[in-house]
Symmetry: C2
Subunit: 425 residues, 2 copies
């Protein structure tokens, strides 16, 4: 039987990028770039002020203090987006706004906070250019000046094919005015549940039936990584209906079948999959929960057959489907992050299969990670996933873990936030 | 001047939930529940099998081994969703599928792997019910049986107002057939840039202008936490145009103004904000980058005025806007997660303001977190955010950090994945 790692390797070997599409910048977040992007301009286009203040010659400020300010003559008022009207000579200053071009002659900028204009009335009117400014800070050369091309240099590659597009990359794309960008295509994904015992969310209540939760946890797990899957509903336990639903599902890049493939369950499932041209690569994985997890493929479609137990289904999505989808989407970082923790309460385990125990992670004394099982590990108890925020990774060789022992823990929450700002050490 | 913490407190005090709306289950992920949800059924509705196998009386399996299996008479075939046709008496077994009801008389289930049916032909036909099954595992009472209500108990609260909706919660909602669910309303958010120096992404190229990246980084940072903001474009540097754009922006729950509020910049901005009925609560924060960060409010709208430098803008969104939006959306966990790390390369710093240094985080020897500055911390260099994955939190009191010193680090990537599965300790 395949280990978790072996099963992941088989699945990833069958999971390849699907080609390229173009998306507008406001839909690029969370995708992976499929082209290199070069800077289309120098930015700043010339040396500009980094502050609101006065462009000066640094030598003129030598010895300036609050008690003994130097007095300079204001000769210009340069706004961002405008052009200097004159150069700055010795004994002169040009008022300058953040982002405005530094005039010829000036080699530094004094912050407005380190100055006082002698006349404040009509500060922006040309008539006042002959007013003076007191400056009480000494300036090193180049101070508060951003050099041409410091942020972006014309022709430089600013983003590469394969880069994940985060907010900073969106900003860079905007900066080089890429309104449309080539990204790897998202997979189309269909979710199919199977079994006469299931009652779908819109069906009338039947006490004997089991509510179909799995289609919706799988849907949400995929939504959480940016995929919008289609829920195909429930295939009933006849070869004809299953075939009809499988045919629909095989139109997608990825078909996820929930339930119906465990050993001995509905003998028609396996032959039906074969009839439909699906080559199954494995039927089971040495894990708990998730043992009856199968994977197959056609020319076009990857087929995941998940266990019917809701927790097992969720764990298999995290361990197998998510990494495969991430690879298809072009990411190189495929797996949920893990951290080291110490066991908060001893747990027993059976040897032979890797166990993904639902658990919670907390900070113990001296900020150590402490992981504690949520209790019942029955794979039918979806509430155990509600109560968990991590999976405790108990190796296949383990017969249990003692309190205080170290263990690796996998985080499940995709977008991590915490309760307190916690800014200091 | 307010510290970062003080500024956060002021902003959060003005950030309140906006009321409740109903969303369909397939759009519930990432929202916060605004109602308690109770189980509408017992699940399982009665005792059911946890495996495919045989429902038996455990006493009948005493002493069973592979060499000396016990032989039981098969009297029924119980599928999930069906009802047992007869009870199990001593010496009898009923074939049973996962999720099928355990028949009267039986008190345990033997896995199909621990059995062999004497006749395999026509296993599911009624004619074969008098066939026998060899069982070679001893069963404890209750084995592989899920008890009525073990997963969900009728009337129990399965999710509470205030719970963040993750995939497991979506599953629970599906299980209790909540097709629509009450959640806290998302804020409507408008993003406005200001300044004659800006060139928008769709405008013709002008070498003298600065590309408007900030509207798009802010957009993407909000998208990353599930908000779909509206980009209003650029307010030009006249009171009339600014007023017109502000009027538009004040129709939203949140207005984010990028640039245009630094000291001395465009004297008309402050009076215009006042004219529009916006009460400003602070104009600056003791931080680097992000110093000229202002916050105000009207009766209806929270107004963030972000610094014009792209990195400063991004940092202020993470530290101030994201927590506020999370609070408005009903979350209790508001802040980006932080971890402890050791400094990989000494950095100098000026006292007086908390510094958010762009940096990268790597695993050093023995899995220690090592944080290294990306180099230039100029707040105009957006590429420094592209190259960073964390912010190194240098306290206001620090004059620098030495290699090997401990420091707190804030993670910026909302959805954390890693390159390798890294499942073992």
């Amino acid at each position: 039987m395949n280990s978790v790692i072996q099963a992941q390797e088989i699945i990833l070997a069958h999971s390849q990028r699907l080609g390229i599409e173009s998306v507008p910048i406001d839909r690029a977040l969370g995708r992976v770039l499929a082209e290199d992007v070069a800077a289309n301009r120098n930015h700043p286009p010339y040396d500009v002020s980094a502050m609101d203040g006065y462009a000066i010659r640094h030598a003129d400020t030598a010895g300036a203090t609050r008690e003994k300010p130097v007095v300079l003559k204001v000769v210009d008022d340069i706004r961002a987006g405008s052009v200097p009207e004159c150069a700055v000579a010795t004994g002169e200053a040009s008022m300058i706004m953040t982002g405005a071009p530094v005039p010829d002659g000036a080699d530094a900028v004094i912050r407005v906070e380190d100055s006082r204009r002698r006349s404040h009335k009509g500060e922006h009117s040309k008539e006042e250019y002959d007013s003076d400014v007191d400056i009480w800070a000494e300036s090193p050369p180049g101070d508060h000046i951003r050099l041409m091309g410091e942020n972006l240099r014309l022709g430089d590659t600013v983003a590469r094919a394969g880069d994940a597009i985060r907010p900073a990359e969106v900003g860079i794309l905007a900066m080089v005015k890429k309104t449309e960008v080539a990204v790897y295509r998202q997979p189309t994904v269909a979710i199919l549940s199977s079994g006469d015992e299931l009652e779908d969310i819109h069906e009338p209540f039947d006490v004997a039936k089991i509510p179909n939760a799995n289609s919706y946890t799988v849907m949400a797990q995929l939504q959480a990584i940016g995929i919008r899957p289609v829920v195909l509903g429930i295939a009933r336990d006849t070869p004809e209906h299953l075939k009809e639903k499988l045919l629909e599902g095989l139109k997608y890049d990825v078909l996820i079948i929930s339930g119906g493939v465990s050993v001995g369950h509905h003998d028609f499932v396996r032959p039906t999959l074969k009839d439909m041209g699906i080559t199954m690569h494995f039927w089971r994985v040495a894990m708990r929960p998730g043992h009856p997890m199968a994977f197959g493929s056609t020319e076009k479609t990857s087929v995941f057959a998940l266990p019917g137990n809701p927790v097992a289904s969720m764990v298999c999505v995290e361990e197998f489907v998510v990494p495969a989808m991430r690879k298809i989407m072009g990411f190189t970082k495929l797996f949920r992050p893990t951290v080291e923790a110490v066991v908060g309460r001893s747990v027993k385990d059976k040897e032979g299969r890797m166990h993904f125990m639902r658990a919670t992670l907390e900070k113990g004394a001296d900020r150590t990670n402490v992981v504690t099982s949520v209790g019942s590990q029955s794979s039918g108890i979806l509430m155990s996933m509600v109560n968990a925020d991590v999976l405790m990774l108990v190796p296949a060789s383990s017969t249990g873990l003692n309190e205080g022992e170290k263990v690796r823990v996998q985080l499940l929450v995709g977008s991590d936030f915490q309760q307190q700002p916690d800014l200091e050490i």
